[in-house]
């Protein structure tokens, strides 16, 4: 890669060289094996593996639960961000620091803890089962787990934008006669919309590929509560590399699309923030 123009600072060659070398070694070459292997299958095989009933069920499940959990996190994440930025209450700093807990907690721990909570004998599960909701080994349980791990994304993306909102705009609207709800709907919400969407997209993206937190609570019944990542795992254990690769290929393509979407959303965010 050539420098666009001369720099008096040293170290370009060595730093970029190492960067590209390490990137290729650890990320690019390994990732490319999926595509080579998937292409090696031939279109027929690939399509077969991807459109089998079991695969489609798994993909559908992963998508729907991720979407629902992202929406839940969008609503409550916004609420939590609002309360943390605008209101005062004892222990606020502690709560704020704590929002990152799902990030920091290893997924396996989250997985077994949530399963214990929502299983039939669990503290919460007991109540839910009594109400007729099967909270473990069901899409409901999966969604709950995904809400847990996606929680910080929306909060952390929306918080800075809320923080930087100028009170003058709200004051102006107020002086023109708008009430709080109108101000929220017409002025605040549009301003934080890019950040909100970015955070939700991140939560969605993470939820799609999530394994550890979900695999315990899901029960992993094929066609019913088998998420796509687990299906890949199962196929691997059966040495069905072709099948595993095909599904992985589809998920990777979706991941890259999400990455693109996120980049666009973030560019939109930056643009609207600088206005």
């Amino acid at each position: 890669m050539k420098l666009k123009h001369y720099s008096a600072l040293p170290g370009f060659g060595i730093s970029l060289g190492f960067t590209l070398f390490y990137l290729s070694l650890i990320v690019l070459i390994p990732l490319s094996t999926i595509f080579f292997k998937a292409f090696g299958l031939g279109w027929e095989h690939f399509w077969q593996a991807v459109t089998s009933a079991r695969t489609l069920a798994a993909l559908r499940l992963s998508f729907s639960t991720s979407l629902v959990s992202a929406l839940i996190n969008a609503c409550f994440g916004l609420l939590v961000a609002w309360v943390l930025v605008r209101y005062e209450f004892p222990g606020k700093k502690l709560v704020d620091a704590f929002v990152d807990f799902p990030f920091a907690l290893p997924t396996a721990v989250a997985g077994i803890a949530l399963t214990a909570l929502y299983s039939q004998n669990g503290w919460v599960g007991k109540q839910l089962y009594a109400m007729g909701i099967k909270s473990a080994f069901s899409p409901f349980g999966i969604t709950i787990a995904l809400v847990f791990i996606g929680l910080p994304f929306v909060v952390r993306t929306v918080e800075p934008v809320l923080q930087n909102l100028e009170s003058e705009v709200e004051e102006a609207a107020s002086s023109l006669g708008a009430n709080r709800w109108q101000i929220f709907l017409k002025i605040i919400l549009p301003t934080i919309a890019p950040a909100l969407m970015t955070g939700s997209a991140m939560a969605f993206s993470r939820a799609l590929g999530e394994y550890g937190s979900v695999v315990f609570i899901a029960g992993n019944m094929p066609m019913k509560t088998e998420i796509a990542p687990l299906l890949i795992m199962t196929k691997l254990e059966q040495y069905d590399y072709a099948g595993a690769t095909a599904i992985a290929g589809v998920m990777l393509i979706v991941s890259f699309i999400m990455l693109l979407v996120l980049n666009i959303l973030q560019a939109w965010s930056r643009q609207s923030e600088s206005l």
């Binding site: 605008r86 209101y87 920091a104």
Partner: protein, 299 residues
């Protein structure tokens, strides 16, 4: 940068929002209660559950689970994996951020996106790719078999998978930080006769120390806690290729729930320590920023 939210280091020094207008009191109380309730439900309950389950059979059993030889070797392996992965990704983070923020070249934005890739890949796939590459049926499988080198189902495989999933952490902390700090000080250093290493070591490094530490803390937390990717490459060989998260899974699948939660509590402790350290670094960075702002008011 897609994938994970940025740190609060970028917000250091910004004044707290002081809204003059607000909702009526009862709404504020209601919303606060709902928000806190939501957080308590989703965050506090799992923590309580882990502790309750871990100590179900008493404290003696708890300690026994932790000092079990398989548990100990799992702890050892986790520490080794972290001790190798974190420094390597730290080195990468420094090299990448230096090349990206100090120079202008074609494809820079693309490079940044590539660095973010591992964040958007599912952990299972992160492990799968190494199986496809180094596994017995994999691209290099035959060659490795001939030379009797074991990567998959052995420690090197675990390290590689961990390197992949923790790849971006340090870089994505440093890049925005170094971009916002600019290059003026480095230019000043070279006019004064400093070479590359001197400039980096004496001028750049002190300025980025908090961002660096922050990235390392996050990188380490993920390296120790990674489950999905490591699960694929490990082979789950007790005493040999199990990290702490995998050991938890094994215990759980054997219905040895109390022991599983006992070992899991170590990871939960790690999560708390990570949160505390993270918060401390943010606090220190904020302190430095506001102090500089206050003193700049002298001019």
């Amino acid at each position: 940068m897609a994938g994970i939210v940025g740190s609060k280091l970028g917000m250091a020094g910004k004044a707290a929002h002081r809204p003059i207008l607000s909702e009526p009191r009862w709404i504020r109380v209601l919303l606060t209660t709902i928000a806190l309730g939501f957080l308590a439900f989703f965050l506090v309950l799992p923590i309580a559950m882990v502790l309750a389950q871990a100590l179900k059979k008493g404290f003696a059993f708890y300690l026994h689970s932790l000092s079990d030889p398989d548990a100990l070797s799992a702890i050892r392996l986790t520490l080794i994996v972290a001790a190798v992965s974190v420094p390597l990704n730290l080195l990468f983070g420094l090299a990448a951020s230096w090349s990206i923020t100090k120079f202008d070249f074609w494809g820079k934005k693309f490079l940044i996106t590539l660095i973010d890739l591992p964040f958007s890949v599912s952990p299972v796939i992160s492990g799968l790719i190494f199986v496809l590459l180094f596994g017995a049926q994999g691209v290099l499988g035959q060659w490795l078999g001939e030379h009797n080198i074991k990567i998959i189902f052995s420690v090197p495989g675990i390290i590689l998978a961990t390197l992949f999933v923790t790849f971006p952490f340090v870089a994505r902390e440093l890049i925005p930080l170094m971009q916002s700090q600019g290059n003026e000080e480095e230019y000043a250093a070279v006019t004064l006769g400093a070479n590359g290493w001197q400039t980096f070591w004496r001028v750049t490094l002190p300025n980025i120390k908090w961002g660096l530490l922050y990235g390392v803390i996050l990188c380490n937390a993920r390296a120790m806690g990674e489950f999905g990717a490591v699960s694929v490459v490990s082979g789950h060989i007790r005493g040999l290729t199990n990290t702490i998260p995998l050991h938890v899974e094994i215990l759980y699948n054997e219905y040895n729930f109390t022991a599983a939660f006992a070992v899991a509590s170590i990871l939960m402790l790690l999560a708390f320590v990570t949160l505390i350290l993270k918060h401390w670094v943010e606090w220190r960075a904020e302190q430095e920023a506001t102090q500089a702002e206050r003193e700049a008011g002298v001019s």
